[in-house]
Subunit: 201 residues, 2 copies
């Protein structure tokens, strides 16, 4: 520790851990110290889990969810309603909806929202793959579960225009999602209610 | 995620991470998601750092500090005052004192404090190794930097009695350490001041 610089394995590990969201340097230090007390029981299993996840987890080629299988567990699940596709900005929102047990259909991860300021255009999002999924003719309703922000609304409008020619019903989450709020920090009840009260656009 | 149980690599990883102090399940989930976006850049380096630390880091055979070298970097440092040994409860306190740059001598990690309730007796602590170090005759002063708790005070009294026959000067941290406070959460200024104003017991 004391004399150790960047080449010191403890300092190096604390540095990497403290970059994780939610872990400051102090927490990282405490976590490392706790793990070092039982390296075989705590540190090596975590190292293995990280390696395994890094190797096994990939974006689903159908919906964009992150999973150890491709197509992902949701896309493979025979009990999901395949006529219903919920479009989300990112995987965090997909996971939040799954935790709410609010949606029994499939998903489509856009990978972002349109943003003039951020320089994100339609070609940067997974819109063509969504249209290709709809072209297969099995999807009857697309639920736009996008953040209640300016960029989210812009993206919802844009998608509604692009989806109109497909004849698929397009709905969005009910009012109830707080303005400016990210989906993945909402409580599960709010998410479930907003999804249930969704309305046509 | 969704369908995944304990055998799902993402859920397994989130479970392990959320056991770390300072990381709840929500933070662990966000951390995993962030890492999964760039597995090669974030996840594998962390896995390697954990593995390397688990393999390389061991308690120092002299002082009990955790380090990739044995004896540790502090015990090897020719610039440290070898006449001065600071006795701490655990490695977290040693690290806290090092961050305060408050102590230019060596350390001795007891590995706990005496606790009637916790069933920790003198034989459970690194007291014999401390006496053996003192028997070499080079140490002139032992600073007891123990927590300002009942158990810390009990341990300090016990050590003072055991060390008296050696003729070594025994001091303790000055008043200034808050009652009931753990050392490793104190700010560095308080630690440095308390160490500087230490007094004989
Ligand atoms: Zn999928
Ligand atoms: Zn040492």
């Amino acid at each position: 520790m004391a004399a150790g610089g960047a080449d010191d394995p403890i300092e190096h590990l604390i540095g990497l851990l403290s970059r994780l969201p939610g872990l400051g340097r102090r927490s990282a230090r405490r976590a490392v110290l706790k793990m070092l007390m039982r390296p075989e029981q705590q540190m090596l299993p975590l190292a293995e889990a990280l390696q395994k996840a890094a190797e096994a987890v990939r974006p689903c080629g159908v919906c964009g969810n992150l999973d150890a299988r491709d197509p992902c567990s949701i896309c493979r699940d025979p009990d999901r309603e395949r006529e219903l596709v919920c479009v989300v900005e990112g995987v965090a929102d997909l996971w939040a909806l799954e935790r709410a047990h609010a949606h029994r259909g499939l998903y489509h991860v856009l990978g972002g929202t349109l943003s003039a300021l951020g320089g994100t255009g339609p070609e940067d999002l997974s819109i063509q793959p969504l249209l290709a999924r709809l072209a297969e003719g099995k999807v009857e309703e697309v639920i736009l579960a996008l953040p209640a922000t300016v960029d989210g609304a812009t993206t919802a409008h844009y998608l509604t225009d692009r989806l109109r020619p497909t004849g698929v019903r397009v709905t969005r989450l009910a009012q109830g999602v707080p303005i400016g709020g990210a989906l993945d920090v909402l409580d599960e009840g709010t998410l479930a209610a907003a999804l249930k009260a969704r309305r046509s656009v």
